[in-house]
Subunit: 243 residues, 2 copies
Amino acid sequence: MTDWPPPPVDQVRTDSVKQPHHPMSVTTTLIQSGSLARRERQKAETRQSILDAARDLFVADGIEATTMRAIASKIGYTATAIYHHFRDKDTLIEELCVADFTALGKAMYKIGRIEDPVERLRTLGTAYAEFALANPSQYRFMFMTQQRHGPVDSDGRPTHKPDEDAYQFVFQTVSEGIQAKRFRPELENPHELAQMMWAGVHGVVSLWLTHADDPYIDWHPPLDTIRSMVNVMIRGALRQPTQ
Amino acid sequence: MTDWPPPPVDQVRTDSVKQPHHPMSVTTTLIQSGSLARRERQKAETRQSILDAARDLFVADGIEATTMRAIASKIGYTATAIYHHFRDKDTLIEELCVADFTALGKAMYKIGRIEDPVERLRTLGTAYAEFALANPSQYRFMFMTQQRHGPVDSDGRPTHKPDEDAYQFVFQTVSEGIQAKRFRPELENPHELAQMMWAGVHGVVSLWLTHADDPYIDWHPPLDTIRSMVNVMIRGALRQPTQ
């Protein structure tokens, strides 16, 4: 962090765009481009460490209680410096949501192409858990805290909605299964079935993320428990269990 | 809160105990007893409002971020006043755990007498969820936050352990079911089975407690979902499902 503070961002950009391109200035431009690339990389790295610090503090202390000053202080910056990178706390939260959504979206993308809805559901459960266990901070932030203060559109709906996307995916999958008469008649409310399936996987993940250090629980590897959970829930929900 | 601050507690107690009992003082003693009872009631009420405020702030902002000053301020007291009732933050957390444990313990007590382990498990799941939904703040505090800083004994184990008790209960129940060959052979690790059953119920409760206000989920009544979850998990886990 020895290069802090970076040069004013607007000035760097203006230099590189407005520099006239005549032969004598090629070398100068290349040097400036190298310098610009380095600065852009540093800027991206700084933004990333701010985002990481913010996510950790939001999870540990709550979004409301976390100030921009505390985020800056966690990585050794002044409160003023952090505002070079994020206009305000809402902007920061917004970028955090977008980044985390992308990571989860990638995990779900391939699974959408599995044709059989029951097998899609089975694979989704495991992949969702793998994402959660590999990204505990993001998972805590997205699924284990109340996010009342994220950015909303004019109807008051969240503009970035990783949990909505995850929910719609499982809802769509169980709905197809219900239409194909795969599930028991008493489970044909797709909302209940989707919420149940989501909750089963979420339950293992979230207990693990809050209680993994507790000395009194002899933890079974959580990913194994997830697989058993998904198999048990699907077997218990199907009209004709395959095994 | 107009009677704040109360008289020093030691002085009140000393008065009532050491007052000599001769005929002339009976009336005086009765009046003092009435006054004492009123003061004790006020003291208990004050302690309760401190505990309630503390629990709310711990859940909202995290245990670490919550100061005794913030707790006092939430109910209109000074930081000094709150130390009349709780020596320090650890003492306050300790009392909160004991109170919440008692509430959950009562819910589990009767269920322990159900002889059939599978039926005990089924009833436990619903009762646990009913407790959680009726006591969302306690549930969040006990099961949805990392409690690294509660009171511990000389071996570093928590001295008050509502979650350990809940876990031991479900562990004991599934162990009996496994011994009686009720569960499928691949599910005969009692730790995995206990963690799975606990997680299923915890998952519905905790998703509801964090996402109930989200506009995009058409929530099925959570207690109905819990019942379906418990039935589905038990059916999927049994060697010979009953229905």
